[in-house]
Amino acid sequence: GGQQPQQKNESEDSQEREVLKIGMVTDVGGVYDKAFNQSAWEGLQRARDELGIEIGYQESKQEADYEDNLERLVEQENDLVWGVGYIMGKQVKEAALNYPDIKFGIIDNTYDEIPKNLQPVIFKDQESSFLVGYIAGKMTKTNKVGFIGGVKGDVIDRFEYGYMTGVKYANSDCELLSQYAGAFDKPAIGRSIAESMYGKGADIIFHASGDTGNGMIAVAQEKNKYAIGVDRDQSKEAPDHVITSAIKKVDNAMFNVAKDLKEGKWNGGETIVYGLSEGGVDIAPTSDKHVPKEILDEVEKLKKKIIDGEIKIPQNEAEYKAMK
């Protein structure tokens, strides 16, 4: 459960309270999903340990929970309430409008009009995907790599097109097999897609498909092929086969916003974009185990170019086509 039980504070006077209080609502994955909900929670835990902030979470089981959980955190007199995941974008904005005195944050989502008390944070997933794509393009021996998506949509598009661009950038003849599973929770389907891709000669596959990707990692192990993880460093799942992961440092974002708040800074009303330059996305630190040093060195150079704006990475099909 939550490491530090939250105080009930019916009696406490919020005006005089010194301690800053931050809560987060998870999506249906729950707080220990080994993906970005967990990452977000780790960020808050760091904030608790380093900044002495009081933290708490509410897990959601279905769509209807998002709103109730946001509300619950408001009731618990949090100073800042996070919604983790684009899926609750709408509910978070509504809550922000309803409670102008309380601060809100949302991960992975942004809006055209942003209330002052709302802090959207989005990640340039396309940048990390580009990097792992580059690695894949360089490391493939068969000149064929794969991509498995969960459900097609704006977020997964960023992964797919970033990855594609990276692969082609590294190796323009490299063939890319891309397929969607239609679900984030069907490892058996992820497994068959991976089997078919490896069977067709792909030797590295990247996934952006949640639990579905677990099936892919299992096949990579069995067939002794390479896989690329997503969101967090997934090398633990198969240390010899997951060569790198496109990671998203939700923890950093959560921690930074908390730190700012503690120091009296608040940037609500505008979207914070966490890309390479902000340390928001990256490749996994364990990449050096399998990826040759030369390639990693090149990756470092590429990072610079991206940060400097020399390389533009598309986020969707339209941008990808426009680039060509």
Binding site: G1, P5, Q6, G56, E59, K90, E94, N98, Y111, G182
Partner: protein
Amino acid sequence: MKQKIINETFLFTILAIVMGLLVGAVVIFISGYNPIEAYGLMIKGIFSKPKYIARTIIRATPLILTGLSVAFAFRTGLFNIGAEGQFIIGALTAALLGYFIQLPMILHVPIVFLGSVFIASLWGAMAGYMKAKFGVHEVIATIMLNWIALYTSNYIISLEKVKMPGSESSYDIQETARMSIDWFKGIVGASTKVNFGMVIAVLASILIYYILFKTTLGYELRAVGYNKDAAEYGGIHIKRNIIVSMSIAGALAGAAGAVHVMGVSYRASTLAAMEGYGFNGIAVSLIGNNSPFGVVLSSFLFGGITYGGANMQLLGIPTEVINIVIGSIVFFVAAYRIFQWITIFFNHEKPQKEDR
């Protein structure tokens, strides 16, 4: 005699609830938390503010309707596992009609609602038709149709005209298609979406009671449910009844979806997995003894435990405890004879071998 049976069922249900909570308390206790404190938080989370009560009611609303859907089908001898899919279809239709049609509210609300109910009733009728015409077991048909509904909804929401950019949902329905009760907001806060859904759900349960027990249609349906052969002998058209029954069940679950979209979410979202309204509806129906009013009560129980129970996370108690509590309640509702057995045991009365 009849009166006594009702009271007995009611008593056993209360006992089952108590036992379910006790099992939950044990689980909470062995996890190292204080069950009294935990349940205290749950109760507080339901009753301590008008807002909480309102939210519990909002939660219970779709469950009443899906629960009625399951209960109604049960009464007519059919097991509707398909309330889930019918809910999805109702919600999807409401989102589409609510967004694409432009009408004054007085027309828009009923048209969206009735339209969704109608389409969902067709969806339910499909399972009935497959059973009546081809003998496909309704359990299989409804399970399959659930998934087909889920993917249909996801597909339609993914269409360019429907999907709100930058989201995984449809566009919000027009203001004119929403059934919120605004004057309540003063009491329960602007964010609490009090809506006419509960009124619809309660009316629906009265209507279903009326249909089942006071009308010729209900008579027919129940006759078919109890004894198809005798019903057919008596001149009742079995196949038509199966279709009618499933379409009413579909309409009820569809109404749940419509009420959810028109009153709370204002849109339909891409679903990664089943949301559980239909499956929970099965539990609600069974706890409520498949009776229309029992369903209303058990929906409140279910809504209360899931909504108020989430408050237990304040102590760090995992949300899974809620599932264990609900599972235990349903278990003891099923195995209510345990209580009879216990009474007999304590009275040192040797139960009759034949008529235990």
